[in-house]
Symmetry: C2
Subunit: 490 residues, 2 copies
C-alpha cells in the first residue's frame, strides 16, 4: 500500500466518523431533543455540514487519489467510493451548493404549510426554485450526459433512467391489472378495538430480535416517523404506535429492522470506512422490504404472529390464522404512498418516477404538475384524488430536492423479489421455520450473501451475486400475482 492510500484512508475514516455523528444528531432531533432547542440545533447541524463539506472537497483528497495505488478488491472499492464523492463535490459550483442548501432548508417548511392548507399553488413557486437548482446541479454533474441520470447516482450508483424505465414499464400494466382484480373482490376483515401501546412496543422489540436485530448495538424508540439511523455498532431504529392499528407499529419495526440489520451485519473490518454502510438506497430498500413483506407478511410468519398477538392483546376478534393473514395483507383504496399495500405501492412510486423525469427534462411545468398527478393517479388506481394533501403534496421529498430518490423504492422491491426467489431455493423449508417465528436461516442467508459486503460491490452487482441471476421485475410480479391471487381468489 502506498502512503498516499494510507493517508487518504485515515482522512476518510475521520470523515466517516464525523458523518456518523451527524446521523446521531438527526436521531436525537427526532427522539430526545427538547423542542426549544430546534433553532440552536439547526445552527449546530449547519456547522457540522460545513465541516463535512470542506472535507469532501479537501484538495488533499484529490492529490491522494491521484497518487494512491489500490491493492486488491477492497482497496479498489474504497477508492471508487472516495473518488465518486470527491468528484461529485468538486463538480458542483460552491454558489450553487450553498443556494441549494439555503433554498431546501426553507422549502420544507413552505411545503408543510401548503400541505396543511391543501394549497398546491402556495408551494409551486418554491418547488419551481428547488427544481431549477437541482436541474442546474444535474447538468453540472452530468458533464454533458443526462441530468436525471446524474441525479440518480446520489441514491443508486450505476443505475440509469432507461434501465429503470424498462423494469417499471413491465411492472405497471400487470400491477394495474392485479390492483383492478383485487379491488373488485370481497375485502378481508379489518382489525377492530384498541391495542395497548406499550404492549405494541414490547411485541415490536421482541419481533425486532426475532429478525436478528442486535439490541446491544442498537435501540428502538418512538418517533413521529419510523426510521433507521447509523452504521456499524450503533444502529438505532424508531417506530410509532397507534392504538387502533398495531400493524403500523409491528411492520414499521420490521421494515426498519431490515435497514438496521443490513448496517449491523456489514463486515466489522469495514467499520467507519466507505465500505461500512449499505451500498445504495435501492439495495437498502430491498432489505427492509424483504424483511417486512416477503418474510413478515408471509402466511407462515403471520401464523406465528397471530399467536403472539393473541398472547399480547388477548382475543382481538380474528381467530382464524388464514383470515388473519388476509387482514395483514388487506389491499385498500387509499391515496397515501406510505400507507399503501404491496399491490399498489409500486404504482405510487412509478407515478412519481415518470412525473419527476418530465420535470427535470422540462417537458412538464410545475404549473401543470397537480393536474398531471391527478390524471395519472386515476388511470393507475381507478379512483380520484380528492385533495392535494392526498395527492401531489403528500411527500416531503421534492421540497428538499430529492429528485431521483423515489425510483429506489421500487427498485428495492424488485430486488427483494429477486432475492426472495433465490432465498426460497437456498432454504427449502423456509415456511416451516417462519411458522415457528424463526427467521435465522432467511436473515442469515441475506447476511452472508449480501449484507456483509457493505459497499464492496456495486449495487446491481451485489444483488446479482447473491441471486445468481441478473435482476429483473419478473420474480416480484410472479410473487405478487401468486400471493394476492390466492388471498383474493382472483
Amino acid at each position: 500500500m502506498s502512503t498516499a492510500y494510507d493517508d487518504l484512508m485515515a482522512f476518510t475514516r475521520e470523515t466517516e466518523a464525523l458523518s456518523q455523528i451527524a446521523g446521531r444528531l438527526g436521531w436525537d432531533q427526532e427522539t430526545t431533543m427538547p423542542r426549544g432547542a430546534a433553532a440552536q440545533r439547526g445552527e449546530e447541524m449547519g456547522a457540522m455540514e460545513s465541516v463535512l463539506h470542506a472535507r469532501r472537497m479537501d484538495p488533499r483528497v484529490g492529490e491522494w487519489l491521484e497518487a494512491a495505488h489500490a491493492d486488491g478488491d477492497e482497496a479498489t472499492a474504497h477508492l471508487r467510493h472516495i473518488r465518486r464523492a470527491f468528484e461529485r463535490a468538486s463538480k458542483v459550483p460552491g454558489d450553487l451548493a450553498a443556494e441549494l442548501a439555503r433554498t431546501t432548508s426553507v422549502a420544507q417548511g413552505v411545503w408543510a404549510e401548503a400541505r396543511a392548507k391543501d394549497d398546491f399553488a402556495a408551494f409551486a413557486p418554491t418547488l419551481e426554485r428547488v427544481l431549477d437548482l437541482r436541474r442546474q446541479e444535474g447538468a453540472a454533474l452530468a458533464d454533458g450526459g443526462d441530468p436525471y441520470d446524474a441525479l440518480l447516482q446520489d441514491y443508486e450508483p450505476g443505475a440509469t433512467a432507461a434501465e429503470l424505465d424498462a423494469m417499471f414499464g413491465a411492472l405497471r400494466p400487470r400491477l394495474v391489472d392485479l390492483r383492478d382484480r383485487v379491488l373488485g373482490a370481497p375485502e378481508p376483515a379489518v382489525l377492530s378495538g384498541t391495542f395497548d401501546e406499550s404492549a405494541q412496543m414490547k411485541l415490536s422489540r421482541q419481533i425486532a430480535k426475532v429478525f436478528g436485530y442486535d439490541m446491544s448495538r442498537g435501540r428502538v424508540d418512538k418517533a413521529v416517523h419510523p426510521f433507521s439511523s447509523g452504521s456499524g455498532n450503533d444502529v438505532r431504529i424508531t417506530t410509532r404506535t397507534n392504538p387502533i392499528d398495531p400493524f403500523n407499529c409491528i411492520y414499521s419495526t420490521i421494515h426498519e429492522v431490515g435497514h438496521a440489520a443490513y448496517e449491523q451485519n456489514i463486515d466489522q473490518a469495514y467499520l467507519l470506512t466507505p465500505l461500512g454502510r449499505g451500498v445504495s438506497m435501492g439495495v437498502h430498500e430491498s432489505q427492509s422490504r424483504i424483511y417486512e413483506n416477503q418474510l413478515g407478511r408471509s402466511r407462515a410468519f403471520t401464523g406465528w404472529l397471530h399467536g403472539q398477538m393473541t398472547e399480547a392483546f388477548g382475543d382481538f376478534g380474528i381467530a382464524d390464522p388464514d383470515a388473519f393473514y388476509a387482514t395483514v395483507n388487506r389491499v385498500h383504496r387509499g391515496f397515501i404512498r406510505t400507507e399503501s399495500d404491496e399491490v399498489q405501492y409500486n404504482l405510487h412510486v412509478l407515478l412519481r418516477f415518470d412525473l419527476e423525469r418530465q420535470l427535470i427534462a422540462g417537458s412538464l411545468d410545475v404549473a401543470d404538475l397537480e393536474e398531471a398527478w391527478n390524471t395519472r393517479f386515476e388511470a393507475d388506481f381507478g379512483y380520484t384524488v380528492d385533495k392535494p394533501s392526498n395527492g401531489v403534496l403528500q411527500d416531503v421529498h421534492w421540497s428538499v430536492g430529492l429528485f431521483g430518490y423515489f425510483a429506489t423504492y421500487s427498485l428495492g422491491n424488485v430486488y427483494a423479489g429477486c432475492l426472495f426467489e433465490a432465498l426460497r431455493k437456498a432454504v427449502p423449508d423456509l415456511d416451516a421455520q417462519l411458522a415457528t417465528g424463526d427467521t435465522s436461516a432467511a436473515t442469515g442467508w441475506l447476511r452472508d450473501n449480501l449484507q456483509r459486503h457493505g459497499g464492496l460491490y456495486e449495487p446491481r452487482e451485489v444483488i446479482e451475486r447473491a441471486c445468481g441471476f441478473a435482476p429483473s421485475e419478473a420474480p416480484l410480479l410472479s410473487y405478487l400475482e401468486a400471493k394476492f391471487g390466492a388471498i383474493y381468489g382472483v
Copy 2:
C-alpha cells in the same frame, strides 16, 4: 467593527456549535448509547476532538486576533476568551498534546481497575506518567511562571494558588473544629424503608421546575453519574435513583439544575459565542451549590419538601419537619467526597488541593502519595482510611490529568457563601417564600445578577459585582457554623 472581528466571530460561532455537538455526544454516551457502540463512539469522539483542536490552533485565528478591533465590553470579552484559548492551544507542543490525549485515554481504565482491586501500586506508574506530562504542559503554559497556576487557568481563569491557599487556609481549622464538634454530638435520625424510584424521578422533575429549570430547553434522564450538559437552549441533566435514599436523587437533581439553570439563563444574545457558557468551574459550582445547599437544604425549603415527600411516598417515618431538616443535613463519618455533607465536603477538597500542588511542584512523589493522603485524612477527619478505594483511588480526576480542578469545588462553595449573604439582603422574606416551595425570587436574583452575564466578566469579578463585596471565605464559615451549630446544638 472590523472585518477581521466579524470573520473571527463567524469562525468561533461555528467552533462553539461543534463543541456543543461534542457535549451532546457525551450526554448520549451516558444515557442512551447502546453498550456495544463504545469502541466506535471512542473513534467518533476522537474525530470530533481532532476537528476542534485544529480549529482552536487555526493560524487564521491568530491573524484575525491581531487585526481585530474590539468595540465595547462584549467584543472585548469575546476577544479575551478567544485569545486565551488560542494562546493555550499554541503554547503546548503538538507532540505533548497528542501524548497527553493518548495517555489519559488509557489511564482512566487503569485507574478504574486499580480502584476495583484496591491496589494503588497498580495505578502509580500510570499516574506518574500523567503527572509528568501535565507538569510539562504546565511549564509550557506558564512561560516561566508557576506551572500549577498555569494549569488552574483551564478551570478558573484569573485564580492563583496563593489566593486560594489563603482562603482555604482560613477555612480548614474552623471546618476541622466544626466537624469535631458535630461528630461528637448525637446523630439525627436516618431514613428507613424504600422509596418508589419512579416516584423519586417524578418528584425530582417537579423540583427541577420549582428551581426554574426550563424543561422545554432541557430534559432529565437517569445515568450512573449525575451531570449537566450543554449550553443555551439544549441543557440536559441526569440524576440517579436509589430505592433506600431518595435524597440522592432529589439533591443530585437540584445540584445539576443549578448548573443547568446557569447555562439556560445566559443572555440569548450570547448563544453559541464564547460568552454563551458559564464563565468558570468555580462560578458554575457556586450555582449548583447554592441551589443544592443554601436554598435546597435550608430549614424553610425542607419544610416544603417534607410535605411533598409525604405526598409522594406516604408516611415515611419522620413526621416532624425539624427532625426532617436534621436528617437532610445529617453529618456522617464517610470517606467519599461525592457522598459527603456540607461540613466535611471542603475538607475533602482542601486535602486534594494541597497534595496535588505538592505533586506538581515535585515536593511529593507518587510513591508517597497514598501515605500522605491517609495521614492528612486522619488529621482533618479524625478517622482512618480503611482502603485505597475509600482514599487516594476514589476520584477519577487525576487519572485523566485534571490537576487544578478540585480547587474550583471549594471556591464554588466559598462563592456560594458570598452570594447567599447578598441574596439574603436582597430578598428579606426569602424563608417565607422557600417555605411555600417558591424559589423564584432567589433564582431570579441569581439570574439577573450573575447567570445572565455568561462569560462577560472574569469569574471573580462577576461574583464581586453580584455580591457588592470582594469574595472571601467568611460568609461560608458563618453560614456553616450557624446552621450546623443550631442543628447539632454545638
